[in-house]
Symmetry: D2
């Protein structure tokens, strides 16, 4: 299958760091989700870290509201925050409870270095840069999960991790990915005009995307323990 279309900026940024992108989206952890070979303990460890991740990711999207340039950008980012905090977090807590991880255990999770590295890089990009820097740093997570989910769903492997795949490969998350890609393209056009890739600024954004992708790839590794 061809990769899904999440807009122009994403396609260019991704193609500018093929090594890290491959390392991230074709990581052994990902392949193990798809063919079912991922050990349960690794998945549970991932779920637990993902709880902490979602908190910081919600903070990052809230920072996007603060740094937005107009009401439409604010509303788009705010809708994501609301969905993360009031829908996805309770859902995640429920899934973890189903796996025997209590809310208390989730809240007591010691954040793994790989988790710290990615989330703080994203937040610091947002604080130190502007709205575009923040979007370039969150993009590998949202759009990478979308690309992975779509691929694994199409592959249709026999796996106990079907739920995970259907969540990220399913129509609702795919629509979120297209919306996020469109938000990025429009935000760039509204600031950098019709030929952003000719500007030095573009390289900086592509660099943020590449670094965030490297850190996302490392994130899978925390499922080792």
């Amino acid at each position: 299958m061809t990769a899904p279309d999440y807009g122009r900026s994403f396609a260019l940024w991704r193609d500018a760091c093929p090594g890290p992108w491959q390392a991230y989206t074709r990581h052994a952890f990902v392949q193990g989700l798809g063919d079912g070979s991922l050990p349960r303990a690794a998945f549970l460890n991932y779920l637990q870290q993902d709880y902490v991740f979602l908190i910081h990711f919600s903070r990052a999207w809230s920072l996007a509201v603060v740094k937005a340039g107009n009401l439409a950008e604010m509303q788009a980012a705010s809708a994501t925050v609301h969905a993360l905090l009031h829908l996805e977090m309770p859902l995640h807590v429920g899934i973890c409870e189903g796996e025997g991880i209590t809310r208390e255990a989730l809240e007591a999770t010691e954040e793994a270095p790989e988790n710290l590295a990615y989330t703080r890089y994203v937040l610091e990009s947002g604080y130190s840069g502007d709205f575009l820097d923040l979007l370039a740093a969150v993009a590998p997570c949202v759009l990478g999960y979308g690309e992975i989910g779509a691929r694994l769903l199409a592959e249709g492997g026999e796996t106990p991790y079907r739920n995970w795949i259907e969540t990220y490969g399913g129509p609702e998350f795919q629509q979120l990915c297209r919306d996020t890609g469109a938000l990025i393209d429009r935000a760039i056009a509204d600031r950098l005009g019709p030929a952003p890739e000719t500007l030095p600024r573009w390289q900086a954004l592509a660099g943020r995307f590449a670094t965030a992708t490297r850190l996302e790839a490392a994130f899978w590794g925390l499922g080792r323990a």
Copy 2:
């Protein structure tokens, strides 16, 4: 009538700056809302500036999500952002249209210095300080409007600004004020323990509240034009 009860921190901060608090909540603009003597042009000018204000106020509450210390604080602040951006803003745009102020006029509003002063003070308090600094700076707005609304509603003056009074004096906004007061009290207890007013930190927070109150009082003055 006695002032409504929005929690302990608010009561102490307010009582520590009686002059500015009086200047803010008993401003001629406020009295004119209550007895109907406020000129229409001043009210319309206020409405238009308030549109810009709501944008920056939503940004401030989003920053509160970023700076929150736990999930409950994040969810409380996020619910306020969502209500501001997806309910109050459309409502405000509708009211303005009813008054003949188009959306285009709203978006083209030149932000008054008094508006800039208050909103940027709040945001900068949040960026440079922590969650408590941010709450101390937003408190005079939320809780002051609640106190003014409750008083004007109880006074029951004959006025064309009844809608405004019923919005801020009504049960929904009064509940938001009690919730915000409780959020503040709990956030302080969770950080500074059971006797926060004995700490130097308390003076800094009371100082933020007093400065923000001074700037809120000046905000009414922008209705002059």
Copy 3:
């Protein structure tokens, strides 16, 4: 005399807001400095507020170090911070003491609303935007003082405020202005390429400059009391 040359971006931004720029650089306070008609009390009040201003201005330049894109930008901004905190502040305290304003009085200064408005606007521009937003917001202060100082020095009016004029019109501060203008031009070229004024981003920067100029003009007004 023609205005001094502090680089291309400054010239374009200034020319894009002729009204506010005139209101700022030809303010009655400025004219009074030049011809000696400014009341002593207004000057002393200005000096005292300026102490608080310098603290927040130092913070703004420190934020520029944090948000810089490379070592050269960091070193340029850091040199300004160092000069402000370790040279200009002690000098300012000395001048105030010579005027009978003690250090205790300086530290107890209640910050005027116009002071809060400008400094928090600058800091919030830096926090919410990027390095360029911050530079566009500090530019009217540094470069406006340079332009005013150069003009008043050339006019050579009979005035008790000769020291002030020689400070800002003198070679050291004029060099700082040329360096700051060059820092801005280079930072813009390094991010937005050779034709930045064709990009939407340029309008946002010019807008920051114009708003900061309006707030600087209002700052002179605080000498009224």
Copy 4:
């Protein structure tokens, strides 16, 4: 030898995370510096990463200037920034050149994940928290290097890394450590009063210190490559 005295807060925070502190200050890399067993390649890799580290560490101390609560705190933090950018950075570049690592190579360094993790954690602590959060996050670096340097100097091992040891164990850096420890103690007293360790806030600060210590320990590991 007993550990050097860098103040009360540091001693309490360190003693509250004995495992991570041991892992950091007794890391194999550290022992290898002391007895000369550290491979040259690992040291050179560390030096190169340290160049990038120093940039972000300078940014963190600049953020401390922005978030300081008074002029004395600003001047203390600013002096550190100035020393880092105008003295230590040129020195570091010189040392690297002596080792055959050109300035171009330094500037082209790809930042290691462990480097990203620690520096962005520190910066994000500062942005999202307040001055104390930032100090708690930088403390393990400054004071840990001081403790390591003092111990290795006292041990007097035969090693080619004697210069490194004399830098951090020497009187100038030891004085910086005592000054930094005093800055921390005073900043805490100025905000949290005479018994800060009885407040919930203290646990949050100790937690920041512990997390930063864990990330510092991981930093040594980047010398593996």
